[in-house]
């Protein structure tokens, strides 16, 4: 449990610090304008990275369980509820 807390703390720091930095750094110098394309597409790609990782986990799980728990799988065994009027 402690390890998990530490892990999440580390992750939080890794995510938060760059965000705070970019928040204070952007548009600071006069004459330099923020490029909205960079900001928006960066956000987009960050979100897509997360979305595709989560998507891979979710759809991977579903594909695996559809393969593993199909009734024709060699190791398929009846569930506890079969034969009852659940």
């Amino acid at each position: 449990m402690k390890k998990l807390v530490v892990l999440f703390l580390v992750l939080a720091v890794i995510v938060v610090i760059p965000a705070v930095q970019s928040a204070f750094a952007a548009g600071a110098e006069p004459g330099e304008y923020l490029d909205r394309r960079v900001v928006i597409w960066n956000l987009f790609f960050k979100m897509m990275t997360i979305a595709f990782v989560v998507g891979a986990v979710v759809s991977g799980t579903m594909i695996w369980q559809c393969w593993r728990f199909r009734e024709s799988h060699p190791k398929a065994k009846p569930t506890a509820y079969e034969g009852t009027d659940w």
Binding site: I40, L43, M47, G55, Q65, C66, E71, W86
Partner: protein
């Protein structure tokens, strides 16, 4: 059995019946009819966009009318009536009552749909399903626009009447031995979506009236030339129609809650979290409407509020996905056609939801709003999730409705082709949107990426079209000539079906 082609009843006996299964059958047949009509329009749109320049549709006005009627038809005349059909068949059985609470009201609610459908189809309006003013007030040609307004008005009343009926049936007519917590999740889905309808629809009903008087020139609610504000319409519209998205999706999730445990041969993982997620979604669904309007010039604060409201709806939807996956865990799944459709629907539900999270992030709106990204996104919901859940349930209740089995092979071919087609069309449209192609355009400049992706999408649409033809053939042939179903356990998975085979040909 309701549709007994062996011993057919005269058609007027079904048409003038108020029995819930007969009304359910009427809903079913009319919604499927509109599914094929609306689908044909979709194929026309995809054929037109296969290449730049005019292809099969002669002019922009016809094209605009086609996509307007396509959207209106499939949302209001297919998805909602289909859900009502399922609700009519199953809700009274699930709460162990003899019929809907108000049978005559039930029949009236159905019989409002054909005239409304006729108004929409004979008018063929061109102002998109969103009917945005001031275009719909000062520019849209009548009488098509006025007919659309009346059609939608009637459909609104119809769904409010249907919603009242479902709520009363579930809350007041359930068997006294049954607590509300024992009502099956499919019936819960109808309870929550009906409550949303009651709260949401009146707003749009008011907006439609104002739109009509604006068109007549007697008022100027949304007409800037008369001091009105078009954005007010957008708020009223989306206050109804963002929750309406949940009205569409919640029954489809409810249908999956019926199918997935059945074919996994084990009860739902967490019944209570299913109920909780339905109720939560139907409340939180009201906090997100203006995320459709980021680009209309809202303030930063407004945008933030609605982004938070939108993101708040995600955990509830995610709980359903978890519930499905956990139910299938350690089960023994029989992949009959309904199960394939339901599992495919969950996968696409996840993709649609992930796209929805990206849409909620306000800055991304600058690149995706009103592009094909949005088209792809919401079609993953309406087609990938809702239509998939609905078709799954149609296969599931086919033996109940007809007493016969559909052709399993054709059902599976239907699923595989539709799934591939759906992925091809709507995933590609997401990317096409990122390349900047706007929605609702009749023609586009010959940009190579746009052409390539439009062609992929059009090919996908044709695959779906062919699969739907197979589906139609299967339904028609099997309802007359299919193998007789084992009415105790048509899918051979055991357990207790909500199939009241003892309730035969009603005659009141």
């Amino acid at each position: 059995m309701v549709l007994e082609l062996q011993k057919p009843r005269p058609i007027w006996q079904i048409m003038f019946s108020t029995h819930h299964t007969d009304v359910g059958l009427l809903y079913l047949i009319s919604s499927l009819g509109f599914l094929f009509l609306g689908g044909a329009l979709a194929l026309a749109i995809r054929a037109e966009l296969f290449l730049p320049g005019a292809q099969i549709i002669g002019d922009a006005m016809t094209f605009n009318r086609i996509f307007t009627v396509h959207g209106t038809t499939l949302i209001f005349l297919f998805i909602i009536p289909f859900a009502s059909s399922v609700g009519n068949y199953f809700v009274p059985i699930m709460v162990r009552y003899k019929d809907m609470a108000y049978p005559k009201l039930n029949a009236i609610a159905f019989w409002m749909i054909p005239p409304a459908g006729a108004l929409i189809w004979l008018g063929f309006a061109d102002f998109t399903w969103y009917a945005t003013p001031p275009y719909s007030i000062i520019s849209a040609p009548g009488p098509a626009a006025d007919m659309w307004i009346f059609g939608l008005k009637i459909l609104g009343i119809s769904s409010v009447l249907g919603a009242i009926n479902f709520i009363v049936t579930i809350l007041k007519c359930k068997h006294p031995d049954m607590s509300i917590g024992q009502v099956p999740l499919l019936a819960w889905s109808f309870l929550s979506s009906s409550l949303i309808i009651l709260v949401a629809i009146p707003t749009f009903a008011a907006a439609l009236l104002m739109l009509l008087t604006d068109r007549l020139g007697v008022s100027g609610f949304f007409n800037p030339a008369m001091g009105g504000d078009p954005i007010a319409y957008a708020h009223l519209f989306w206050f109804t129609f963002h929750p309406e998205v949940y009205v569409l999706v919640i029954p489809a999730i409810g249908m999956m809650y019926e199918i997935i445990p059945r074919f996994s041969r084990k009860p739902i993982y967490s019944f209570n979290s299913g109920i909780f997620a339905f109720v939560l979604l139907s409340i939180v669904g009201f906090s997100s409407w203006a995320h459709h309007m980021y680009a209309t010039g809202m303030s930063f604060t407004e945008k933030t509020v609605f982004m938070v409201g939108t993101l708040a709806a995600v955990p509830a939807s995610a709980m359903h996905v978890f519930n499905f996956i956990a139910t299938m865990w350690n089960s023994r799944i029989k992949f009959s056609t309904p199960m394939m459709w339901a599992v495919g629907g969950i996968a696409l539900f996840f993709s649609a939801g992930a796209g929805g999270v990206a849409n909620a992030a306000m800055p991304l709106d600058f690149s995706t709003h009103d592009t094909y990204w949005v088209v792809g996104h919401f079609h993953l919901f309406v087609m990938g999730t809702i239509a998939f859940g609905s078709i799954a349930f149609l296969y599931y209740m086919f033996p109940y409705v007809t007493g016969r089995m559909y052709n399993e092979t054709m059902g599976k071919i239907h699923f595989v082709m539709s799934f591939i087609g759906t992925v091809l069309v709507f995933f590609t449209q997401h990317v096409l949107g990122l390349y900047g192609m706007p929605r609702r355009i009749f023609d586009y400049p010959p940009i190579p990426e746009w052409i390539a992706m439009n062609q992929i999408a059009s090919v996908g649409a044709m695959i779906i079209g062919v699969s739907m033809a197979i589906f139609l053939a299967n339904m028609i042939y099997s309802s007359g000539k299919g193998q007789l179903a084992n009415t105790e356990d048509p899918f051979g998975v055991g357990g207790k079906y909500y199939y009241p085979f003892e309730a035969k040909n009603p005659s009141h």
